[in-house]
C-alpha cells in the first residue's frame, strides 16, 4: 500500500488546475484582443472559435487513451468515419446511423480489450485501425458529399446567451471530464490503469474491462467530435478528420498531461484544444505568413514541454 501511494503521489501532485496552460491561453486571448479588438466580441469569438468544439472532444478522446499510458493514432480517421456516416445517414435513417455509431464505440472498446489481452503496443494497433477507419470512410464516401440534418446545423450555430457556444461547450466538457476522471470513483480506478496496473489487478479490478472502458469512452468522444464536425461542415469528407490525430495529442500534452503514468489533466486538455486553435488565429492576425503555422505550433509544443521540464526540476 505504501508503494502504491508512492506511485500515485506524483500523479496527484500534477493534479488541480493546470497553471501553465491557463496562463498561456490568457496571454493569447489578451494578445488577440490587442491585435484585433473585434475578435474578442461575442460574434467575433463565435466565429473564430467555431472549430474548437470538435477539437475539444478529439482531445478528450486522446486523453482517455493517454490515461492508459497508450496513444491513439487512429482518432483522426475515426472522426472522419463518423463524419461520413453522419453525413450519409443521419438525415434519412437516423436509427441506422446511431446504430452504426454505437458499433464504432463498441469497436473502440474491443480494441482496448484486444490491446490488454494480447499485450500489444497501442501505437501499432491504433495505427492499423486508422487504415480501417479511413478505408471504411472512403468506401462510404469516395468523394466529398452528403449533408447534415437542419437541426444539427442549427444546434452548431445556436447563439447561446452570454457565452459564445464554443466557450460554453468548452466549459461544460471541462467540468464533466474533470469530475469523471478526478472525482468519480471509477475515474480514479481508470487512472490507476496508467500509473500502477499491477496494484489495480491486485485490488480486484479487471484490467481488460478498465482498458476497454477507457477506449470505449475515447470512441464515444470521437463520435461526439465527428457529429460536431459534421454540423460545422454540413457535409462528409473522408479526409477531413486526419489532422485531429496529431492535434489531439498536442492539445493533451500542452494541457499538462504526461504520456505515461496516468498523469492527466482533463481541464488542461480542453484548454490545450483552445490553444492549438488560437495559435493559428493569432498567427493570421500578424503579418507573418501562414506557411509558418505548423512550425509555430511545433515550437509552442516544444516551449511548453521545456517549461514543464524546468518547473518539474525546481519542484
Amino acid at each position: 500500500m505504501l508503494r502504491l501511494s508512492a506511485r500515485i503521489a506524483p500523479a496527484l501532485r500534477g493534479a488541480g488546475l493546470p497553471f501553465l496552460p491557463v496562463l498561456a491561453l490568457t496571454i493569447m486571448v489578451i494578445g488577440m484582443g490587442i491585435m484585433q479588438p473585434r475578435a474578442t466580441s461575442y460574434i467575433g469569438l463565435q466565429l473564430i472559435l467555431r472549430f474548437v468544439p470538435p477539437m475539444i472532444f478529439a482531445a478528450l478522446a486522446q486523453l482517455c487513451v493517454i490515461t492508459a499510458s497508450d496513444i491513439d493514432f487512429g482518432i483522426g480517421p475515426f472522426i472522419s468515419l463518423v463524419n461520413c456516416i453522419a453525413a450519409t445517414l443521419l438525415s434519412s435513417h437516423p436509427a441506422l446511423c446511431f446504430l452504426l455509431l454505437a458499433a464504432g464505440v463498441a469497436a473502440y472498446g474491443a480494441m482496448g480489450a484486444f490491446i490488454q489481452i494480447r499485450r500489444l503496443p497501442s501505437i501499432v494497433v491504433t495505427l492499423g485501425a486508422s487504415f480501417i477507419w479511413l478505408g471504411l470512410a472512403l468506401l462510404i464516401m469516395p468523394t466529398p458529399a452528403g449533408s447534415a440534418p437542419d437541426w444539427l446545423v442549427a444546434l452548431a450555430h445556436w447563439r447561446a446567451p452570454y457565452l459564445p457556444l464554443p466557450i460554453l461547450v468548452g466549459v461544460l466538457a471541462a467540468i464533466f471530464s474533470q469530475w469523471f476522471f478526478r472525482m468519480s470513483s471509477y475515474g480514479v480506478v481508470l487512472r490507476g490503469l496508467g500509473s500502477a496496473p499491477p496494484f489495480l489487478r491486485d485490488a480486484g479490478w479487471s484490467l481488460v474491462v478498465a482498458r476497454s472502458a477507457l477506449y470505449a469512452l475515447a470512441g464515444l468522444f470521437g463520435v461526439i467530435s465527428g457529429l460536431m464536425l459534421t454540423a460545422l461542415i454540413s457535409s462528409g469528407d473522408a479526409n477531413v478528420g486526419t489532422p485531429y490525430t496529431l492535434l489531439s495529442v498536442a492539445a493533451v500534452i500542452v494541457g499538462g498531461s504526461s504520456f505515461t503514468g496516468g498523469v492527466i489533466s482533463p481541464i488542461g486538455a480542453v484548454v490545450g484544444a483552445f490553444i492549438m486553435l488560437l495559435t493559428g488565429v493569432l498567427l493570421s492576425f500578424t503579418p507573418i505568413s501562414s506557411d509558418w503555422q505548423l512550425s509555430v505550433q511545433g515550437l509552442l509544443l516544444l516551449l511548453v514541454l521545456g517549461l514543464r521540464a524546468l518547473s518539474r526540476r525546481h519542484a
Binding site: Q36, R38, A39, G44, L47, I48, R50, F51, P54, M55, P142, T143, P144, A145, G146, L229, L232, I233, S234, S235, G236, D237, A238, N239, V240, T242, P243, Y244, L277, G280, V281, S284, F285, S289, S290, D291, Q293, L294
Partner: protein, 362 residues
C-alpha cells in the same frame, strides 16, 4: 426596301446604339472606389511549382493594385491541406474585416460552412480553380473537362488505328482530377479504337508519377499514348525510358521541365508528336480582379468559365524562351482581360480566348 423603312431601321439602330452606349456609360459610372477595401486569398496547398506560381501571380497583382490605390489591403493564407484549417482561417478573415475572400477550396463541400458564414457577414466570396457547392459564392470554373477532351482529341487524331494509352490521374478525390478524367473518357468515345489500358495516380508531381508509371509499365502491352494532368509528363517519360520502351505521345502539362523534354524529343526525332495543355495558375489573378469588380459594384454572373492554356509545336520555342526553369507557361490575365470575360459572361457569349503572352513579351 423604301425610304421610310430604311429611315425606320436606321432610327432603331441608332436607338439601340444609344442605349448600348448609355448602358456602358452607366456601367462605368456605377464603379465605386475600392481603394479602402481588403481582399484576401485563402489557398489550401503550396507544395508544388504550380501552386507557387498561383501564389506569386496573386501577390504580384495584389501588391501592384495596392500601389495603384485600387485596393487597401491584401493577404494570403495557406491551409496545410486541411479543411479544418482552411475553414478556421476563413473565419479569422471575416473577423479581420476583409471585404472579399477569394477561395481555392480543398473540398467541394467541407468548407462550405465557413464560406456561408462569410456570405452572412456580408463578405464577397469568390471560388476559383477547384470547385465548391456553396451557393452564395461567385464561381470561376477552370474548364478541366475541356482539358481532358482536348487530350482525347489530340491522341485520337495522331494515333491512327488501334492504340493503347495510359492515363495518369492527379490527386484522388479532387474535382479537378474527376473533371479531367471525365473529359478524357468523354472525348475518347469518338475514337473506339483507342483503349485505356492502365491508370495511375501521379498526384500532379513528377517524382510520384515516375514511380507509379514505373510500377505499372511491366504489366502493360505496348503503349502509344499517355494522357496526363500536368506535372507528370516528365516523370512518365523517365519511367518509359528506364524500362527501355520507346517514347509514346506523352501529353505535356505546360511545366518548364516538360516543355524542355518535348524539345529534346523533337531534336532526337523530328517526327515526334505531342502537345501541352494545363490550367493556368494565374487564375488567381482573374479571381482577384473579379472580386475587385464585384466590390466596385459591377454586375458579375455567379458562374464564369476560364479557358485552359494549350501549347502546340509551332509555339514551343517561343514559350520555352519566356518560361523560367522550375516554373510553368503562364498566361497573364490582367484587369482588362478579366473585364472582357465578365462582359462576355454577362451577355451570354463564350469566354474569350486566353491572352497570348507573346504580345506583351515582344
Amino acid at each position: 426596301m423604301n425610304v421610310p423603312q430604311v429611315k425606320c431601321v436606321a432610327t432603331m439602330v441608332a436607338a439601340v446604339l444609344l442605349i448600348a452606349a448609355g448602358l456602358t456609360h452607366a456601367g462605368a459610372a456605377e464603379q465605386k472606389s475600392t481603394a479602402h477595401m481588403k481582399i484576401a486569398l485563402s489557398n489550401f496547398y503550396a507544395g508544388n511549382s504550380w501552386r507557387q506560381a498561383l501564389l506569386k501571380s496573386w501577390s504580384d497583382t495584389a501588391s501592384q493594385a495596392m500601389k495603384d490605390h485600387i485596393i487597401g489591403e491584401t493577404k494570403i493564407v495557406n491551409a496545410d491541406n486541411s479543411a479544418i484549417q482552411q475553414s478556421s482561417q476563413i473565419e479569422s478573415l471575416i473577423v479581420e474585416g476583409y471585404n472579399a475572400i477569394v477561395v481555392d477550396p480543398i473540398s467541394t463541400t467541407a468548407i462550405n460552412g465557413a464560406m456561408e458564414d462569410a456570405c452572412n457577414a456580408g463578405v464577397i466570396v469568390v471560388v476559383f480553380n477547384e470547385t465548391a457547392t456553396v451557393s452564395c459564392a461567385y464561381h470561376i470554373i477552370t474548364d478541366y473537362v475541356e482539358d481532358g477532351r482536348l487530350q482525347a482529341k489530340f491522341l485520337g487524331e495522331h494515333l491512327k488505328g488501334p492504340a493503347n494509352i495510359l492515363e495518369i490521374r492527379g490527386v484522388a478525390g479532387t474535382s479537378a482530377d474527376v473533371d479531367m478524367h471525365n473529359g478524357l473518357a468523354d472525348g475518347l468515345k469518338t475514337y473506339p479504337n483507342i483503349k485505356i489500358v492502365g491508370a495511375v495516380y501521379g498526384n500532379w508531381t513528377q517524382t510520384v508519377a515516375q514511380k507509379e508509371v514505373a510500377g505499372i509499365l511491366p504489366s502493360l502491352p505496348p503503349v502509344q499514348g499517355v494522357a496526363t494532368q500536368g506535372g507528370d509528363g516528365w516523370g512518365a517519360y523517365q519511367a518509359f525510358n528506364a524500362a527501355g520502351r520507346p517514347a509514346p505521345i506523352i501529353v505535356m502539362g505546360n511545366r518548364q521541365d516538360e516543355l524542355a523534354l518535348w524539345k529534346t524529343l523533337v531534336e532526337k526525332d523530328p517526327n515526334y508528336q505531342t502537345f501541352s495543355v494545363s490550367s493556368t495558375p494565374s487564375s488567381s489573378e482573374v479571381a482577384f480582379w473579379v472580386a475587385q469588380q464585384i466590390l466596385a459594384g459591377r454586375h458579375v454572373p455567379k458562374t464564369m468559365n476560364l479557358p485552359v492554356t494549350t501549347i502546340y509545336k509551332n509555339d514551343l520555342d517561343a514559350w520555352l524562351k519566356i518560361t523560367p526553369v522550375g516554373s510553368l507557361a503562364l498566361t497573364l490575365f490582367d484587369q482588362s482581360w478579366t473585364e472582357t470575360l465578365i462582359e462576355a459572361a454577362n451577355t451570354g457569349k463564350p469566354a474569350p480566348d486566353a491572352p497570348s503572352p507573346f504580345l506583351s513579351a515582344q
